[in-house]
Structures are given as C-alpha cells and as structure tokens.
C-alpha cells in the first residue's frame, strides 16, 4: 500500500482515471474518493461521463489509465466479476433486470452471501412477486429489484447509476428514504450518479460535478444545494 | 474528390502488380498451373461478388454457391443446345443468377445477421436438392457433361481457340478485371456508399429517407448475377455442370476466401481465392494429409492474421 498514513483507507479511491469506449475517451483524469459509510453524489449533465466513471470503477470497462482502490486494494483492470467480489455492487443505468428470469432468480444470481429473506423484508413487494418474470414488474419494482440484487452480494460499496430515472416523484422520494436507511443500517458506502438533484441532496454528504468527462467541482452537498449560481453554471438548471 | 481518399495509396500499386503478374502467367507457368490459375480466377470473380455483399452491404450470404451453380447450369443448358457465342453464354449465366437471387433475396433480407446466413444457406441447399433431383433437366448427380466452349468470331480468324488454355485464361482474366472494375465503381458510387451506410446504420438511413430494403435487394441481385457469370465461366472452363457447384461447401469456401483475403477490399477476395485454391489443390495433389495442414493453416490464420492478406499489405 502506497499510503504512509495508518488511517483506515478510503472505501473507494479513484486516482486520475481515464476510460472510454473503443478509441474515444469519455472520462479523463477523474480523481474522487468515498469514505467508509459515506454517500457521495456524482452530478452532471447527460454525457458528462458519470456512467462511464461508474462502469470503469466496477470493472465493466477497462480503464485506460489511473487507479481504482477498494479499501486500499487495487482493482483497476480486473475483470468485473473480481471487482464485484471485492465488495462493489453496481445498480446500472436502466436497471438491466434479467427480463426472462424470475424475481427470485434475479436475486440469487449474484454470487454473494446475501439473505433472500432480508431483501424481501426490505422490499416487501419483491417478496410478493418472487416468482414473476423480471419483465412483468413495474418501473419502481424493477428499480427495487435492481437494488435488491446488488445488495445480495453484501457489498461494501454500492454504485447507483441514475436510480430515479423514469420513476414517479413519489417513488423517487421512497427511493431516497430507502437509500438513506440502507446506508445507515448496513454501513454502506454509496456513490450515486444522479440528475435528480432533490434525490442527490437527500442522500449525499458530498457531491462531485462532472463536465465533459472531468471532475470540475467538489463540495459538501449542503453548500452546493444552497449555491444556485453554481448549480446553474454546471448543471444548467 | 472526397470519396475513398482516406484509403492508403497501396491499392493501385498492388492492383498493377497483381494484374501484371496474372497476365504473365501463361508465358512462364506450366500448363497445369495455368489451369489452376484459371480456376482461381473464376473463383476470384465469385469471391469478389460475395465480398461486395459481405464487405460493402454487410450481408453474410452462406448460399452464394446457388447463383454460381445456377449460372453454370444455365450456361451449360444453352451451350448444349448448340448456342455458340461468348456473350450470350455469359449473359444467360448472369441473368439466371439475378433471376434466382431476386426472390431469394426478397425473402432472406427480412432477416439479419446469423439468421440471414442460415436462410441463404437453406435456399442454397434447396436449389442444390433441386439440381440433384430434377434429373430430366440436370441429369442428377451425374451432371451435365461435355459442354462446348464458345468460339469467338474475331479470334477464330486469328486461329485462336478458347479450347487453348492460354486464351481461355486471358478471357477469365479480362472478365475478372471487368468484374473488379464494375464492383469497384459500384462500391465507390453513391450506390455503394448507400449500401455502406445501410450496413453501418440502417435505422439512420431509413430516417434519411433511403428505402434500405430495395438497396440491399439490388446488391443481392447484382452479386447473384456476377456469381452467375462466374458460374458460366466455370461451366465453359470445366465442360461440366454438376450439383456439387451449388453445395454449401462451395459457399463456405468462398466465404473463407473473402475472410482470408480480407473483406471490403475486392482485392482481398482475389488474393484469398488464389490462396485457398492453391492451398487446397496444391496441397491435395502433393500431400496425403492435406486436410490436416489446411485446417491448421486456417486456425493459424485466424489467430495470427486477423485482418486478412490485405491487412498484411495495408500494415506494411
């Protein structure tokens, strides 16, 4: 371990990460960290590189340069299943539920040691529909399933990519509560990419703003929430 | 002035060398190798037509031999009815290929990718079955034999006969060059670019107002008619037309030639056709365990020369 400080390492430490698809670079020199038990939001417009960053952290994309450490352990360049086994779970954009698998199969797929009963108690709706095919769920249920599926691996770091996408406002509020609860109950560290600022502010302690593949701003969530000029500048709202 | 410029300048050079090398074959090569080279040229015409489909239109046909075989049968049937004349025999091959390709294309093009591959294979095999079983027309597995080669009015006077190997080789060379030029022109024309557009992004092309199906069908029919011409030449060259010509292995071999040579280049398939034919005939006439060697070569080729022979030249 390169670090000389004896302090516990960050849950996630990303250093000068560069990644992209094919020849085109989508994310450049991104540096960010998430402490144990911390919730951090990644803000930015469509195409700013939020998803790419999360995918690269989770190992679905091979980083072109830079390092990714989970609890001080380097994972950059490892295949996604190895990253997943080191305690990272991603809830991807669009949820990517296995449509032909039942709810129960979706949940038990992950190789972790999670407890089905626990998930069903978190998401009673899933318990009721455990035999239904993934494709038969409503948008909100699918999102629950995607999160539940990620939790089955008992992750130490949860990556959420636009969880509010396509959900009704009420559902988004429920989701916000849920994420907050998860975090406190399971001691999860969370990195959430969001466009819905309300959700981001509800969940996150700190925020990073991305623009054109780079991190351009970092602030405590509370400070950013109150600074409408900054919001306008970076997010165009 | 914009079209096709980003391709490197290796092409004209390679073309010139290839043409000269081929044209000189009858002067130095032993007769047997002229024969092999003739076969390879015919096969190259066939492979080029497949490359036009595969490389430019993005349509992996696995039943292309059907048009080749149909062209051969059409030419054979006409020649056996005492029709003499190069042009009619080539034209009938092309027409037969196109005629068969139109309905097959219209049905097959409803699918894409691997399903298209299988559907064209299915149609190819059905035609093969027809060739085997329609004995009154095709004489079944025995095939039509004793097909005469046409006489050429001008050449007759000079006492040159297509029965001679050299002149026939040159005939094939000329047809091959014409095919190359035609396909090259098509590939660079608006039509070819449209096909490439459809291959890359059919949705976009439709949004721009291109009826993609018609373009693909046109490409399929063109490729079919050129395969038919190759079939005509094959019938004249060999003097026979048998169901073997339509069998899927012939389609497979052509695909191999395209892949070995390098798709979307038109030159690649020519190189590939020569490589495959010389590989197969050369090996099989000299070495007993030729299948083993050829198979190993294919495997090595895929692993070590991923972009085809043309890729090697391009890199150099």
């Amino acid at each position: 371990m390169a670090r000389s400080e004896p302090a516990t390492p960050d849950r996630l430490a990303v250093d000068r990460l560069t990644a992209g698809y094919g020849a085109s670079v989508a994310v450049r020199q991104v540096t960010l960290r998430v402490g144990p038990g911390e919730a951090v939001a990644l803000l930015g417009r469509n195409g700013a590189g939020k998803s790419t960053t999360l995918m690269a952290i989770a190992g679905a994309l091979r980083p072109m340069a830079g390092s990714v450490q989970i609890d001080g352990q380097a994972v950059a360049g490892l295949p996604s299943y190895r990253v997943a086994r080191s305690g990272v779970s991603l809830v991807p954009q669009g949820r990517r539920i296995f449509a032909t698998l039942s709810v129960r199969e979706n949940l038990t797929l992950a190789s972790g040691s999670g407890n089905l009963a626990e998930i069903y108690s978190l998401f009673p709706a899933l318990g009721v529909r455990s035999a239904a095919a993934g494709s038969a769920l409503s948008g909100g249920e699918q999102q629950m399933l995607a999160i539940g599926r990620a939790l089955m691996a008992r992750p130490r770091l949860l990556l959420l990519d636009e969880p509010s996408e396509g959900l009704a406002p009420q559902v988004v509020r429920v989701l916000g509560d849920l994420i907050a609860r998860l975090r406190h109950k399971m001691g999860l560290a969370i990195l959430i990419a969001e466009q819905n600022l309300a959700l981001a502010f509800e969940v996150a302690d700190r925020i990073y703003v991305m623009e054109r593949g780079e991190v351009v701003h970092e602030a405590p969530a509370s400070a950013f929430r109150d600074d409408h000029a900054l919001q306008k500048r970076y997010l165009g709202v | 002035m914009i079209r096709g410029r980003f391709r490197a300048a290796w092409r004209p050079g390679l073309l010139a060398i290839l043409t000269l090398a081929l044209a000189s074959v009858p002067m130095w090569a032993p007769r047997f190798w002229i024969y092999i080279a003739t076969q390879a040229l015919i096969f190259a015409i066939f492979a080029m037509s497949l490359d036009f489909l595969l490389g430019y239109a993005g349509l992996p046909s696995f039943g292309h031999a059907a048009f080749y075989g149909v062209g051969a049968y059409a030419c054979a049937l006409l020649a056996l009815r005492q029709v003499d004349g190069l042009i009619p025999l080539l034209v009938v091959g092309a027409a037969a290929g196109a005629l068969i390709a139109a309905p097959i294309g219209a049905l097959s093009l409803r699918t894409t990718g691997i399903y298209f591959l299988m559907l064209t294979l299915a149609f190819g095999q059905m035609l093969w079955g027809l060739a085997v079983n329609w004995t009154s027309l095709t004489r079944g597995t025995d095939g039509l034999i004793g097909i005469p080669r046409p006489t050429l009015a001008g050449l007759d006077a000079l006492n040159i006969s297509l029965y001679e190997r050299g002149p026939f080789f040159f005939l094939c060379l000329v047809v091959a060059i014409l095919t190359f030029l035609l396909l090259e022109m098509l590939a660079r024309s608006p039509f070819g670019k449209t096909l490439e557009g459809i291959r890359d992004n059919e949705r976009r092309m439709r949004a721009l107002g291109y009826p993609s199906f018609r373009y693909r069908l046109a490409a399929f029919v063109i490729a079919g008619s050129i395969a038919g011409i190759a079939g005509s030449l094959a019938a004249m060259s060999n003097g026979y037309a048998t169901p073997d010509l339509l069998y899927w292995t012939v389609s497979g071999l052509a695909l191999v030639a395209v892949v070995v040579g390098g798709a979307r280049s038109l030159i690649g398939p020519v190189l590939g056709a020569f490589a495959v034919l010389f590989g197969q005939l050369g090996l099989s006439t000299y070495v007993p365990r030729w299948e083993l060697i050829l198979g190993t070569l294919f495997i090595a080729f895929v692993l070590f020369v991923p972009r085809g022979l043309v890729g090697l030249v391009r890199r150099a």
């Binding site: 679905a60 295949p79 996604s80 299943y81 997943a84 086994r85 779970s89 991603l90 991807p92 990517r96 296995f98 449509a99 032909t100 698998l101 199969e105 797929l109 992950a110 190789s111 972790g112 599926r149 990620a150 691996a153 | 595969l54 992996p60 049905l107 409803r110 699918t111 894409t112 990718g113 691997i114 399903y115 299988m118 559907l119 294979l121 299915a122 149609f123 095999q125 059905m126 079955g129 085997v132 079983n133 497979g252 695909l255 191999v256 395209v258 892949v259 070995v260 365990r289 299948e291 083993l292 050829l294 198979g295 190993t296 070569l297 294919f298 495997i299 080729f301 895929v302 692993l303 991923p306």
Partner: protein, 269 residues
C-alpha cells in the same frame, strides 16, 4: 439430434460463437464409443467416457483458441472452427482409416418392438428415451437450477452478469465443455444407430444448425422444439419426397424465418 442442437444452442446463444467444430465433437464421440466398445465390449462405459473426454477437449479448445476470437465476429469464428473440422476429420481418418464402422446396440436393446401396431427398433426407442430424459433434465436445470439462471442471465446480458460477480470466462469455459460433452453424448448414442465414418460430422452439423436456428438462438426450449419439428419434418418429408426430405426441412426453416426472423422462440439479436 436434440442433444447436439442443445449443446450448439448453448454455445451459440450464450457465447455468440458459431462453432462449426460441433459436428466434429459428435464424430469424435462416436469414434470414442467405437474404440471403447471394441476394447471393453461395454457400450455403457462409452456412454460415460466419451462425454467426459469431449468436455475436457472442449474446455481445452476454449481456453487455448476460442477465447481469442470472441468479439471478432462470426466470420473469424467460422474460419477457425472450419479449420478444426478439417483437422478433426483428418486425425480421425489417420487413426481409424476411412472405412465405415459400426457397433451393435447394447445387449437388451437389439431387435424390434411393436408399438401401436408399428415396428420400431428397440434401440431407436432407447435413443428417443435418452433424448427425452436429457432434454427434460436440461429443461429443468435450465429453468430451476442456479446454473441455469446464470446461463440465461449470461445469454441476456453478459456485462450485467459480470457486474454481479459471475465469473463469465469460467462460465464460458464450462459452458463450452458442457456443450462439447453433449455433442459427445450424442455421438455415442448415435453410434449404434448410424454408421461411423469420417464425414459424419458435416452431415449432422447442418441439421443441428437448422434445429438451433429454427428454434431460436440461445434457448433450450427452442432447441427442443426445433429438434421435434425437424424430426417430424424429416419423417413427413421422407414419406412425401423420399429423395429430398432434407429439402423439406430447409423449406421449413426458410418458412419459419421468413415469418419469424428470429426463430420460433428466439430473441432479436
């Protein structure tokens, strides 16, 4: 036929690899059966040995060769696996010679049986039974075992499966091995029923491809349905045009694909 198609379908659907060498696995399976029967007189031993050996061969090939051509498109795979078919057929010929071989059905399964007034050979019924049992097992496994769920997940969304901590490279290797093993099993089962000769691979490969495509890629149910249809089509075809039953099967496939471009139970790819 179903066994072969199921193996092919799994390999093809899940891994998106067009494996022409699948027929070769079948042929090698039949020859292993022949060798084992000649050496030990035990068909049942062959039934165990051949699939295991072929699974090992399949795994080795996947690790050494196929792994490198994922993502290189079907054509590279076709060329590679076509190369393997040539190698296999020549190796078999150099080892066993070009003669046709055959082995008798295992004792107890010789002779004919009357079923509903029609005569069947006992062994044909055995083949049918094995295919049904294996098909049912596969279907059950596919539907209700975690492995089945993992495979289906892999077919649907490879990247997501990886993100869930599934070791896809290993799953691929095992899948390939399993597919090869199924082909080997099919080879053993077919050995007493059909003749064993170099070249038997190509004949069966095309049919297996038809079954897979007819049913739809990456679907065990599809392979099952496809096999049943092809089997039926063949029987009907033989009685209608004995010369060209295979043509009827191709026509069947063509008709299905024209109406349903992704096969009967296939997804759009």
């Amino acid at each position: 036929m179903f066994l072969l198609a199921a193996g092919l379908s799994i390999i093809f659907g899940l891994m998106n690899v067009l494996n022409l060498a699948h027929g070769s696995f079948y042929m090698v399976g039949a020859y292993i059966a022949y060798s084992v029967v000649v050496a030990t007189k035990s068909f049942w031993l062959a039934l165990v040995v051949a699939p295991v050996l072929l699974a090992v061969v399949g795994a080795a090939l996947e690790l050494v060769f196929f792994r490198r051509v994922y993502g290189r498109g079907h054509l590279a795979q076709v060329l590679l696996t076509f190369g393997f078919t040539l190698v296999f057929v020549d190796l078999i010929r150099s080892q066993f010679g070009p003669t046709t071989r055959s082995i008798p059905p295992p004792s107890g399964l010789e002779g004919a049986v009357q079923v509903l007034g029609a005569t069947f050979s006992a062994y044909s019924l055995f083949v049918l039974a094995v295919a049904t049992v294996v098909g049912a097992l596969l279907l059950v496994g596919w539907r209700s075992l975690r492995v089945g769920a993992v495979l289906r997940a892999g077919v649907e969304d490879k990247e997501m499966a990886g993100l869930l901590g599934i070791n896809l490279p290993r799953v691929f290797t095992l899948t390939f091995a399993f597919g090869a093993g199924l082909a080997g099993l099919a080879g053993v089962i077919a050995a007493p029923e059909f003749a064993i000769y170099p070249g038997m691979d190509a004949n069966v490969l095309i049919l297996a491809l038809v079954v897979v495509v007819l049913g739809g890629l990456g679907s065990i149910e599809g392979a099952l349905l496809g096999a049943a249809l092809v089997g039926l089509g063949y029987v009907i075809g033989t009685s209608l045009f004995p010369q060209f039953a295979i043509g009827l099967i191709f026509a069947l496939m063509a008709a299905v694909l024209v109406v349903r471009p992704s096969g009967l139970l296939g997804r759009r790819m």
